[in-house]
Symmetry: C2
Subunit: 392 residues, 2 copies
């Protein structure tokens, strides 16, 4: 059964090199008082900050700034940004950065419109309704999370060791500027982690036992082939426009809701990884690369092997005449090789500084103290087993 769905992605995207002169006109549609948010200063080093400020000034807009948004963005930054919006009567937010900056900006946008602590939007015991949010424009500098075109945003709370994501149409950006040149300075390591994040977004949806729209499966296979083809190119030649452009547009479409349409299962690796980066602050995409092949191996059985076969044949070109289980094993190995050999990511948790200390609590939290209703439903014991598989 193909499930009903509603498709509704009204984000306007300026894709390419020559669009920044539209920034002023787009911001002006929403007002004159702009809060620009960004991270640790890489946008200054690459010269983007100056270009953006020039456009804003040329458009006659008033500018405030919030910098220092963390790689796994924290509720503290959200609180600070929401406060600034209220103090300065901000009309529109401009996020300049990667997924972390955009994610934080999304909850700043919602937090600016309420009197309570923005953490109440995330807190699982509260999940305050999002009735309103300031409009968001963004300029993307990292191809990974897809935040530029989706309704999701993940925030960490170091006090409670929570890392919680939530989706709401109110926080969808209005306009996104996607210039692949703005990712030229992304390091090979971050390019690898971003690419692994994109792959995971696709795999979480692709591995689904419901009757799916075949058409969407072909799109997902195409996106995975795109990442496999261009991630190593972008790592070796950071200013290869073709590679950066393909990764950038794929990162948006992997997770904007298009390929998810009609699929019924929840995600698996993301909840498991969120605990790792909540407890250890590792790079999200790296955690996903370590977990994903183990998760695939753990879930494989006779009832779902057909999906692994489809993946192996259509994405990695494995001979369809081999026995199904052989194709499945080979496909998992080839994916692991892509992550750990081609992209050069560490393949075990100890190599990124994670041991068994918090496995128990992380496993319990990843399944919300119950069952994760994914491709294969996972209980705490299952996650524990998958974490252990990542030790060596």
């Amino acid at each position: 059964m193909i499930n009903d769905f509603i498709y509704n992605i009204p984000v306007k995207v300026y894709f390419g090199k020559g669009h920044l002169h539209h920034l002023g006109e787009e911001l002006k549609k929403y007002g004159t008082r702009v809060l620009m948010t960004y991270g640790g200063g890489s946008i200054k080093r690459m010269g983007l900050y100056d270009k953006v400020v020039r456009e804003i000034k040329a458009a006659g807009l008033e500018l405030w700034e919030l910098d220092g948004i963390e790689p796994n963005p924290r509720i503290g930054s959200v609180r600070k940004g929401a406060q600034m919006c209220k103090e300065h009567n901000i009309d529109v937010l401009l996020a300049v950065g990667g997924g972390s900056t955009i994610d934080a900006t999304k909850w700043i946008a919602a937090g600016a419109c309420v009197d309570f602590d923005p953490w109440d939007f995330l807190d699982l015991s509260k999940q305050a309704p999002v009735k309103k949010a300031l409009p968001i424009v963004d300029i993307l500098t990292l191809s990974a999370t897809g935040s530029e075109m989706d309704t999701a945003a993940v925030i960490s709370n170091p006090e409670t060791r929570d890392k919680i994501g939530r989706l709401d149409p109110m926080i969808l950006p209005k306009v996104s500027f996607l210039n692949p040149e703005n990712t030229y300075t992304v390091s090979p390591y971050q390019t690898a982690c971003g690419s692994s994040d994109i792959m995971s977004h696709i795999l979480e949806v692709y591995f689904n036992t419901g009757d799916d729209l075949y058409m969407l499966d072909t799109f997902m296979e195409g996106m995975m082939k795109t990442v496999i083809k261009y991630a190593p190119v972008a790592m070796k030649e950071p200013d290869n426009y073709e590679a950066r452009a393909n990764l950038m547009w794929t990162s948006s479409w992997a997770i904007n809701g298009f390929v998810t349409a009609g699929k019924k299962h929840a995600w698996s690796c993301h909840p498991m990884e969120h605990e790792l980066s909540a407890y250890y602050d590792i790079t999200h995409g790296h955690g996903l690369a370590i977990l994903t092949p183990r998760w695939m191996k753990y879930c494989l059985d006779e009832t779902n092997v057909y999906k692994y076969v489809q993946f192996g044949v259509n994405v990695f070109g494995i001979d369809p005449k081999l026995p199904p289980m052989e194709i499945a094993d080979k496909a998992i190995d080839m994916l692991a090789d892509f992550f750990f050999k081609t992209l050069g990511l560490k393949s075990t948790l100890p190599e990124v500084g994670i041991d068994e200390t918090y496995f128990d609590i992380m496993a319990a939290k990843s399944v919300n103290y119950g069952t994760l209703p994914g491709f294969k439903p996972l209980r705490k014991e299952d996650v524990l087993e998958i974490y252990k598989m990542c030790l060596k």
Copy 2:
């Protein structure tokens, strides 16, 4: 060079069986006075008309109707609809039908807002600017033109023997209801013609010699594989939901502007076909099926053979180790077999009642008395040659 582009498709799509109860709430967003447009009555035979009227009444809306919109919709229907909108102060248009009904409705929506003859929007010597249009909601009953999600609409003028298409963001539908069940009554022949239309929309973009986004090429290959897989299923089993759903969502995405992003070439087969259906009123998709393999054969040379190879290998699974020209020829033959054997369409112009009588004037008009700047630039003589190739 990958060209810059702007992506902006704010159509809300309700996809699936169970969404019609949202119709009233969506229409109400735009007003209370609704003009419903449709074709020859098939929506009454299939029971859709009654369901729609029931929703409209239940929502307390006022309803007017314009029926009889032709398969190649004519300017007369547009004039009539625009007049009705003015007379009855219509707030919102509801098109129920295939691409023809939606196309006519698009120019009715624009025509309702001006004092001049709506043909002035199309007339190549005038192309009056579209400053305003009534909002459009549609319920699709045929997977083919993609009009439900794009900015284009084609109108015929029998007096001048013109068939002219034009794109404008003002005439993009606000909301589209895509229920694959509403295509169960489409005949095998119309299913074949619709599928050929979808294939053509993709091929017109795919055959492009610019440096393209590889990612988008993989999507196009996936969509072509989807049509090739499901068109024959839908012809044999008209109420196969999976087949109808895949064809329907593919028809929208083939032409909504997504895969076109960054491509530079104009289309070729559509202008050539528009002359055929303007002069002979044949089904658009059938004309495209006859023209497309000939056009591909005519354009093939050493400089562009690589694109045919990509097509043949990735869409039809032809062995990549064969010589490129052999792959290209084979790919064209396999496409022709799909149109003429699998879909059972007539393979020559005489078989659909077209002879050489108007070749000269049709060829001249198809290139606008100049050059068509497509995959391979075509002058009148080239089109004449392609038309002649379609004689046997």
